[in-house]
Amino acid sequence: MDFAFTEEQEQLRREARSFLSERFPAERVAGLADSEAGWDEQSWAELAELGWLGVSVSEEAGGTGLGFLEEAVLHEELGRALYPGPFFSTLVVLPELGPEEQADAASGKTRWSFTLDGSLVPDLAIVDRVLTGDGSVAAEGETLETMDATRRFGRLTEPAAPAEHLRTRAFAALALEAVGISQRALEYAIEHAKTREQFGKPIGIYQAISHPISDSYVDTELSRSLAYWAAWCVAENDEQAPLVAAAAKARAAEAAVAVCERAIQVHGGIGFTWEHPLHRYYKRAQWIEAFGGYPAVQRAEVARHLVG
């Protein structure tokens, strides 16, 4: 029994965090999110160069030849940085593609997304192809204003069959992203509680402030455990993977929303402004919570498994 990432995987995490904090600091992400394009297309070549796009693609198909555990580290870190770009959308699709398509995607030449409901497609405007339940279609449709401007939806011109078979991998990836969101929002709250002074003292000495932050830590760690478990199940092709990924997505998304809400409250007025990055995390957390069904939908699935 060994429930930890390897030293190499932790090294990948350090590299990712260092790259993202340098290239995608909060101010830049805010600027991109508020821009018309919503992202920096040049960044896709950088991600390809780093080998991140082909992290789970075999070396024969031009990938890095690693697995879903390494991909998991990247989902978490890119979520933590709120990277605006179709990393999630493309990587969820990759294992379903043929070797040539995989090679094109890993090199950054083509970008992919998918639809879980036959209509809504994450990142539609900035990808080339969309995987459906029975093949793939060109990424054509209307771009929709989306609460989370770093991951905008589009609606396909022609309804398509839902790509149900991507649900498990998508849910595992989103659970991991949600953990990254929770961790970052928790850090914002801790930092503010330590430095903001009222009545001559840092507000973190008040238990009305510190106890909700402790609850956010508990929520983050519990969802981290579920998300890593889901990652392991996907990596091992474990038969429990669909159930575990659904459970992890439900718990981690709900936690991320709650952690962001507590962080906003701890910040007071500044937490409610457009200027502060927290609202962007809060919106991504809600995006994750909603995608593929709110947590009650996944819990209904768990209940069917338990009770019949």
Partner: protein, 382 residues
């Protein structure tokens, strides 16, 4: 990362499972959490566990332990939960007094006490809390006055589980009457059969008396029963509390797993269709898995570094609240009949008993302080 047992762990699991199957008496299975019946049978069961080498699994071999890795302890607790086997009756000796004596005791103390903890020949209780010193443990007032070759102890302790059947007590006393707070405390090993020790059971919310008040009136405690040095009581007490919470996660999660399995079985049997109840049941199952996997992460950290990770502090806090939600859910699932306690009253007992979970072994408020201050680095609130 590999969540499967390695071959050596798998072998230990198989062996433990087979042993439990062969040795656990049917009437000892946890049909009800109450303590009274268990006291009669508990010592015998504990001796069996000890003879088979399952008591003190991670204690060093030189003190009669198994010298086994922490993973074995975790596997044993999982298998005991799976078999619904009660724990060794000497939980305070095994989990708290023993490790503290191993850490701070003299060779004489180790050879005098440790073997009898393992064999359940001697039961221990804990004398920490007082009427005026609950969460604020440093406020203890029970006095230990040095006289010739012994201490004279006077005072009152409270919330002491097993004291009514205990042979020994780990006792935190104030040996320097002029001292305040963490200074001037001394940790004593007190014979509960000494003259001047009086135990009064406290009847609790469930109607049972699992814990007690202990009154000490001019109790003579020989000087050789001081653990570590006079005046070092606070540091020694912290070792005890580290162990209290450190090894707890798997046992707590195991108990919760048994209860959730029973509740799922009940829901199946009744063919529950109410979507609200089904949603809450799924939520509790998911949180149980989250706790279980968090224990695994903490265990991996402990095995790799020898230091418990911060994940451990999450376990008790979250478990206690999960257990409370579970108790309420079970009664709601049963419906109005839940108020009738005919039969074994398993769920009614669990629901009422669970109110103590957020109070005992560190209140949830204290645990949130610990997380805020020691894990997250927030400023101290007092």
């Amino acid at each position: 990362m590999d969540l499967r047992d390695n071959p050596e762990e798998a072998a230990f699991r198989t062996e433990a499972r087979a042993w439990l199957e062969a040795n656990l008496p049917e009437d000892l299975k946890a049909t009800r959490g109450g303590a009274a019946r268990f006291e009669e049978l508990g010592r015998e069961w504990s001796r069996k566990l000890s003879d088979a080498g399952y008591a003190g699994l991670t204690w060093p071999k030189e003190f009669g332990g198994g010298g086994a890795p922490y993973t074995h302890q975790a596997i044993l607790l999982e298998e005991m939960a799976r078999a619904e086997a009660p724990q060794h009756i000497g939980v305070i000796g095994l989990g708290m007094a023993g490790p503290t004596i191993i850490a701070h005791g003299t060779d004489e103390q180790k050879s005098r006490y440790l073997a009898k903890i393992l064999s359940a020949e001697e039961i221990w209780c804990q004398g920490f809390s007082e009427p005026g010193a609950g969460s604020d443990l440093a406020a203890v007032r029970t006095s230990a006055r040095e006289e010739d070759d012994h201490f004279v102890v006077n005072g009152q302790k409270v919330w002491s589980s097993f004291a009514h059947i205990a042979d020994w007590c780990i006792l935190v006393t104030r040996s320097d009457p002029a001292s305040e707070k963490h200074k001037g405390l001394t940790y004593l090993l007190v014979d509960m059969h000494s003259s001047g020790v009086e135990v009064r059971p406290l009847r609790q919310i469930t109607g049972e008396a699992e814990f007690n008040e202990i009154f000490f009136t001019d109790v003579k405690v020989p000087r050789e029963n001081v653990l570590a040095e006079v005046g070092q009581g606070w540091q020694v007490a912290m070792t005890t509390l580290l162990h209290e919470r450190g090894t707890l996660g798997f046992a707590l999660t195991g108990a919760l797993e048994v209860a959730i399995k029973k509740l799922v079985a009940l829901a199946r049997e009744r063919g529950v269709t109410d979507p609200v109840i089904r949603d809450r049941l799924a939520r509790e199952w998911i949180d149980l898995q989250a706790l279980r996997l968090t224990n695994y992460r903490a265990l991996t950290q402990l095995v790799k570094t020898g230091i418990p990770g911060p994940e451990g502090s999450v376990a008790k806090l979250h478990w206690s609240e999960a257990n409370q939600r579970l108790g309420k859910l079970a009664l709601e699932l049963i419906g109005p009949d839940s108020q009738v306690t005919d039969g074994n009253g398993y769920w009614q007992y669990l629901q009422l008993r669970s109110r103590g979970n957020t109070i005992e072994a560190g209140t949830s408020e204290i645990l949130r302080n610990i997380i805020a201050e020691r894990v997250l680095g927030l400023p101290r609130s007092r």
